[in-house]
Structures are given as C-alpha cells and as structure tokens.
C-alpha cells in the first residue's frame, strides 16, 4: 500500500512540475520586471523569516 501511495504521490507531483513549468514560462514571457530596489524589498523579509525559523529551532533544542 505504501509503495502504491509513493508512486501515486510521485506521479501527482510530476504533474505539478508540469503545471509549474507552464506557469513559469507564462510569467517569464508576460510578467512585470523588477524595478530598482524590488529584490532588496523581498530579500529582507525572507532573511527575517530564515532567522525566525533558526530562533524556533533553538527554542525546541
């Protein structure tokens, strides 16, 4: 049963990869481009998230 579920999960995730690829192509072709300072505005909150997760790990150890 478990092997069947693993194969089914792999198949469904394979489908997700296909849909993600289609979405990637569409956003690359038609999506807006980053303006000045946009990537810094993203990296900062994501770095805070990474630091927060490290803090949570330290709390449970």
């Amino acid at each position: 049963m478990e092997l069947f579920l693993k194969i089914a999960a792999a198949a469904v995730m394979g489908m997700m990869v296909f849909y993600a690829w289609r979405a990637y192509r569409q956003w690359q072709a038609h999506g807006p481009k980053a303006q000045k300072g946009d990537w810094q505005a993203v990296v900062l909150p994501l770095a805070l998230v990474a630091g927060f997760v490290a803090l949570l790990v330290a709390m449970v150890r």
Binding site: L5, A10, M13, Y24, G31, P32, Q35, D38, L46
Partner: protein, 222 residues
Amino acid sequence: MANPNYSIAHSTERALSTNKVLKNTYMLLSATLVFSALMAGLSMMLAVPPWMYMASVIVAMVLGIFVLPRTASSSSGIGVLFLITGLLGFGLGAILTLYLKLPHGPQVIGTAFAGTGLIFLGLSGYALTTKRDFSFMGGFLFAGIMVVFLVAIANIFLAMPALSLAVSGAIILLMSGFILFDTSRIINGGETNYIMATYGLYLSIFNIFISLLQILGIMSDD
C-alpha cells in the same frame, strides 16, 4: 478632452473592488483554516493511520489541479475549496497524532503553529502596507517550485533526512515568497477571484506549517 471626474470615479471603483476581493479572501481563508483544524481534530480522535496523510494530499492535489479551476467562478468552487482544505486537515491529523507520541511533541506542534501564524501575519502585513508590487517574482517562484518538487520526488524513494531538511527549508522560503506574491496580486488587481486567492494563501500556510513541523521535529532532541 480627458474627463477628470471619470478618472476619479474609475479609480474609486477599482479600489472598492480590490477591497472586496481582499475582504472575501481573508474571510474565506479564516473559515477554511477553522474547518481544516476541525477535520484534523476529527482525524486525531479516529486515530487514522499515517498513510492517510499521503492519500489525502494526493486527492487534494488532484482536486486542486483539475476541479477547482473549473468551478472557481461559481459558488460550487467554495464547496470544492472546503473539500480540499478538509481533506488536507484530515490528513494533517494523522501526522499530528505521530508527533504527539514524541516526548516533546506538543511543544513542537505548538511552536510550529505559532511560528506559522507569525510568519503569515508578518508577511501579509508587510505586503499590505508596502507600496511595492511583488508580481515580478512569479517566474522565480515557479522555477523554485519546479526544483523543489523534483527533489521531493527523488526523496520520496531515497528517504534521506538531510534532504528532507533542505526541502523543508526551501519550501518555507518559497511559500513565504508566495504569500508576498499572492497578497500583492490581490491588492494590485492581478487576482480578482477570491476562491483562487484563498486557495493560494491556504496552501502557503499549510506548507509552511508542515515544513516547520518537519524541521522542528528533526532538530529537536526527540
């Protein structure tokens, strides 16, 4: 000659429409999260086996790919969304039952729950208050999803804890990016369907919670 009154009326109308989508999205998101939690509780009471998680996720993903996009423009889409979130919650209960058996299991679950809430609220608040449009991240995020899914497929069969940790860490960062991306699209009118908007945000929250649970479970001393 351009009519300034028309421009003002048009932009007011757009702002009202955006606020309506935002309000409906957050209301539906709250309802689906509560329903999901109730289904998780039911699953824990029934002590369903661990394989139920994988089975629920597989069915939910199939519904999300093939059924929800076709019904999202009608009221039946709300029913499909509750079905998907209910299934995911039911499967989650099987995982939580396993964690509760660990010596510090309740602490790990509570920490993951609070951490997920804070991450979501913090990122949403940031996306709602900043003037930036995060739609430019679309290509990068979907490329990241492809890579993570390919590695996750390999890890289904390899079952390497270090790889699981890396995948979970990547998922947390990707889903955080998606929260910024999805929220920004709602605000800027890129997403006008509150059912699809709710589905995107729900999946981000669910995946962050599961990944945090995995990281904290592996890194704790249990």
